[in-house]
Symmetry: C2
Subunit: 464 residues, 2 copies
Amino acid sequence: MAEHSVTMERTLRKLLSEKKYATLRDILVTMNPADIAAIFDELEEDRLPLLFRLLPKELAADTFVEMEPDAQELLIRGFSDSELKEVINELFVDDAVDIVEEMPANVVRRILSQADPEMRKSINEILRYPENSAGSIMTTEYVSLRPKMTIEEAITRIRRTGFDKETIYTCYVTKDRTLVGVVTVKDLLLAEDDEATIETIMIPNVISVNTHDDQEEVAQMFSKYNFLALPVVDTEQRLVGIITFDDAMDVMEEEATEDIEKMAAIIPSEKPYMSMTPFEIWKKRIPWLMLLMVSATFTGMIISHFEDKLANLVILTAFIPMLMDTAGNSGSQASVTVIRGLSLNELEFGDIFSIIWKEIRVAVLCGLALAGACFLKIYLIDGLLLKSFTGLPAGINMFLVIGVICLTLAVTVLFAKIVGCVLPLVAKKLGFDPAVMASPFITTIVDALSLLVYFALASAFLPI
Amino acid sequence: MAEHSVTMERTLRKLLSEKKYATLRDILVTMNPADIAAIFDELEEDRLPLLFRLLPKELAADTFVEMEPDAQELLIRGFSDSELKEVINELFVDDAVDIVEEMPANVVRRILSQADPEMRKSINEILRYPENSAGSIMTTEYVSLRPKMTIEEAITRIRRTGFDKETIYTCYVTKDRTLVGVVTVKDLLLAEDDEATIETIMIPNVISVNTHDDQEEVAQMFSKYNFLALPVVDTEQRLVGIITFDDAMDVMEEEATEDIEKMAAIIPSEKPYMSMTPFEIWKKRIPWLMLLMVSATFTGMIISHFEDKLANLVILTAFIPMLMDTAGNSGSQASVTVIRGLSLNELEFGDIFSIIWKEIRVAVLCGLALAGACFLKIYLIDGLLLKSFTGLPAGINMFLVIGVICLTLAVTVLFAKIVGCVLPLVAKKLGFDPAVMASPFITTIVDALSLLVYFALASAFLPI
């Protein structure tokens, strides 16, 4: 894909510098808007407007939508008022809203002044909905039918009004603006009797979302029901817009990326990595690094507190990283599993006891396997091969030391798995984001826990 | 959603125990198959077949598809041959394949023996494609048109053959089985002249995928182009099937979950968490835990090597967890960002130098900020408040010790960010999965690096 577009870019550049505009246009019209946009994003600032103007009206608008905000802004600044008017009014409302949200205030003013009154009204309406709500990602261009229409009338209506609708395949049946049913073009086309009324073939129990529902829930409904589009209603069940599957896909991808970033202690950003400055990236990464660094004070305090015991048996220090890392890995395995399950609605807070019980059994299996392997590894490698245990203080038996290490391992794996699965569930219950509350903290919490267990067991079993 | 289905389940149970089958059926037919399936999954084994038999034929098949494999198997085992035949032949081929893939061999034999010859042929064909390939997720039920047909003939053909097609909205134009164009029902319905031929309105440059393309690439194409369906062709450009957006959504979700699991050192599983036994979960988690535990031997060896120096200045030990964790967090921020960028095709190996350069600048910013904050924190909290630095050996200045710690922090953050961004890119280049190769190893590599830097700087600047 990428290789292909590099070759294509070179061809287009060559044609452009040779001023072969007719050929350029002939090539561009055969291409998909997303591919054209990918090439345009790479062009120099002075060449872009020239090439863009070669596109026919509809293709120009479709390509414009797919471009990066920087390139869009550049183009808008170069457009005459009539060019801007043409592009803006060719857009679907939800795409226009996406663009408006990315642009600086003076560009937004120009866009709105050139939009048709109806378009301007729709844009302003959608902009009023809270960020990440169903209302903010919907479009107002849908096909609506009346219950008493015949199928033939409905098809005529679709043929007459369908041009500027985001989808014509799912049509919504309304009565006094209230959503009363849904009918697909497939149903209309395959119906036996053209004179039957819409209300006889529509599905009356319409699954819909509310304008204020979270976009993540909306995306989950698409993946559950496999709908092409979902209607958006207000609190009085009046139809105000629709969301189409392509927007739901974008949301799914966005939300998965956000979860991944949060789990890695990064504040999510909507800008792609390559177009962020190092300072912008720094601002997304430093808060968690700072917080986690400061919270590591506790682990430092624990070690300081047991400093004298460590000084008596320095070999114990060598196993601290292994114990902390293994516990940390065990904990994040559990937390990440639960966080993803919550995101996909596969798990909920009510499952907490069965999850804990499952994790305890997993932890016992993991703990036993790890402790066993650890015993062998330390005995064979550290003990026999590296002779790390020679010169132990009098009265301290090598096997006792290894035993304390392995027991610590088993116990901390158990603690880590329990903390790992409980933390995201509790965060969710308290209304916090599980990914952000649970994942970055797991390591710090589990570090402290493993040190406490380690020193407690060492003090109990070893004469130090 | 979940609340709602609990109430619904209770109502249905009550009606079932009162044997009010007509009422039950009336309720079930108003519901969406995915919602019915969610309730059926929770039913006891003996009630399920009874309730399932109440569903009308088409709804029964749609519900069957949405159910969990365990419940599907239970139903199939209870079906008579004619019941099985009815359900199987009502399914879309790709759904039938998904079910066949989950069932034990004897159930598969029964399914295939009851399938229509054409369905059996299609299932067997799709089963031959490698797992996770485009061929393995496609369906063979699409609408194909001829280039010379008129629009009216095309619409008639769709009306006649559309019933059992997975989608009728995107139609593929073939000539001697070769894919030559694509046309949507929207284009057909909105066309001005019914007598125009398909070849005059079709888009001839069809974007298609090959049967052997990876399903992840296919999902990426859906999210890039916003298609409803993508045609699948063989090496001779012959159309063999289509993939619809709903399958692409499932793939996107699945792949995101897989990436998240791999980053958390879990071997991905296709089974949902709640239906896995503790032993199955253990098998997915223990390999990485073992490997990472054993690889922590290196960190242990490094500490053992510097044991004498640590014994001279035990306070150094207290800062090991903070240094390792901060470096680990910094590294995984970079690696996770790059891994996700690779998954979404936003980054590629060719970007390696600009990525490294960007990460170096981010690392310098992070390193300076962290070192500065760390200096203040240690001086104020550990120095003045906790008095951890009283009783330092003669000739060792507190500020020098703090300086070594902060310098280590800055240097390891730099190393961690570079390792974090390079490792996934190199893994990808070498044909390994970046998520699995890079993420779990980051901590271990960065742990070792930070200890080496720590002890090297301590040896250089402190008289120990």
